[in-house]
Symmetry: C2
Subunit: 269 residues, 2 copies
Amino acid sequence: MRLPGIPSAPERAALTPAEARALFRDGLATPTAGWSSGFTQANLIIVPREQAFDVLLFAQRNPKSCPILGVIEAGATSGPLLADGDIRTDVGRYMVYENGVLVAEPTDLHDWWRPDLVTFIVGCSFTFEAALQHEGIPIAHIEEGSNVPMYRTNVRCAPAGEMSGPLVVSMRPIAADRIADAVRITAQYPAVHGDPVHVGDPAALGIRDLARPDFGDAVTVPAGHVPVFWACGVTPQAAVMESRPPLAIGHAPGHMLITDARDSDYLVP
Amino acid sequence: MRLPGIPSAPERAALTPAEARALFRDGLATPTAGWSSGFTQANLIIVPREQAFDVLLFAQRNPKSCPILGVIEAGATSGPLLADGDIRTDVGRYMVYENGVLVAEPTDLHDWWRPDLVTFIVGCSFTFEAALQHEGIPIAHIEEGSNVPMYRTNVRCAPAGEMSGPLVVSMRPIAADRIADAVRITAQYPAVHGDPVHVGDPAALGIRDLARPDFGDAVTVPAGHVPVFWACGVTPQAAVMESRPPLAIGHAPGHMLITDARDSDYLVP
């Protein structure tokens, strides 16, 4: 199969979600920041039905890190957030865990799919980045063309059944005189992590070195800027790794599901 | 066993939640409107773990009618909303359904309890009634000393797995010039049904006769008042009756769980 080429930045931004998903379905695997401007990107966590109650209860108890945008029930492979899509193929790259151990990073799930798998589509802080930029707050990882840095913290999530794990956060450096604005703007998106969980001192979250994120890429924190931390939708994936179910599947960090929902759908002004 | 007497109205209002639950544990069975003033009352739906994912997903998809305040996992009988309480005894009266058919209305669950049962504690519109009264909006069923009237509607909830059913609503007559206030006040309690789903014409919801509620008691709609309908936490019980799981348990309408949470905990001003 000939892989599709990566479209240019303006082309990526202008793709409809269905067009973007078709490229990933054809085998393309690349981070999705900047794709399908205005449409909501999302995290994935996929588990067998036997574990699905614990995952959904974990999300209910940890709504800031695990906001559920949609659930594809066992037996189905599509849903209203990806019309005519296929959750087994429409993400660029997946992470497959067996008993909590990463065993594969495939570009589709045909070798792994089972009819009892339940897919949770989880909100992503990419959703409010355009709103931050629109109000003149630059996003470092977008400016640097890299993936947002994400960190495991020493904050424990509320457990649910077999699911327990650390809060995972994403970090964006914000100028000291814009932090209040960043809080105000992101608070308007409560369903996609909302306002920050922590501003400043990474050590208070148990983060030893900002230059070494657990997922994604490090970004520069310029003078006069403060690291600001938002709850991250990779949190359920970290809990799945700790709880070691027989099978669990997530997206590769940064390789998000591009949904048909619009970022503005999640704005609560 | 000698049943405890029903306390006077001021005594009922002044009881702590733990004191109220102790009376119900001792066998008292009476509607709870006006009990433990300022503390949050809640609906119950209890199902085997096998059905629990569908119930939780149904709630996630129908958050206005099924706001989850807490979940007691299989094997447990208490939780943070009822410290030192016991969900098997601490509600005045329960409704037990086998295959969707009401088979018993016991005052405790000792004959029915199984270790695989999962308890969902669901928000109740009683929570915002004190706020309405505080702003000078009288509540008919409280003034009449009866149970709030509740109706099955022709609005279908979003289904989840085996769970499907109608939206159930509670109704309060509101003076025409106070409806905007009632909307504004109840919108501040999004976790306990929030603002109304419908104002006026009962027929548009498929309600034929306000004088014949499906649950609770009819109230008078005075001249110049409009029937206003809020989503009701009996909705998951109606869906359970339709989906006919082998066993399901709810509270008797109006006989709520009195939790340790305060109504003000759910205020989002």
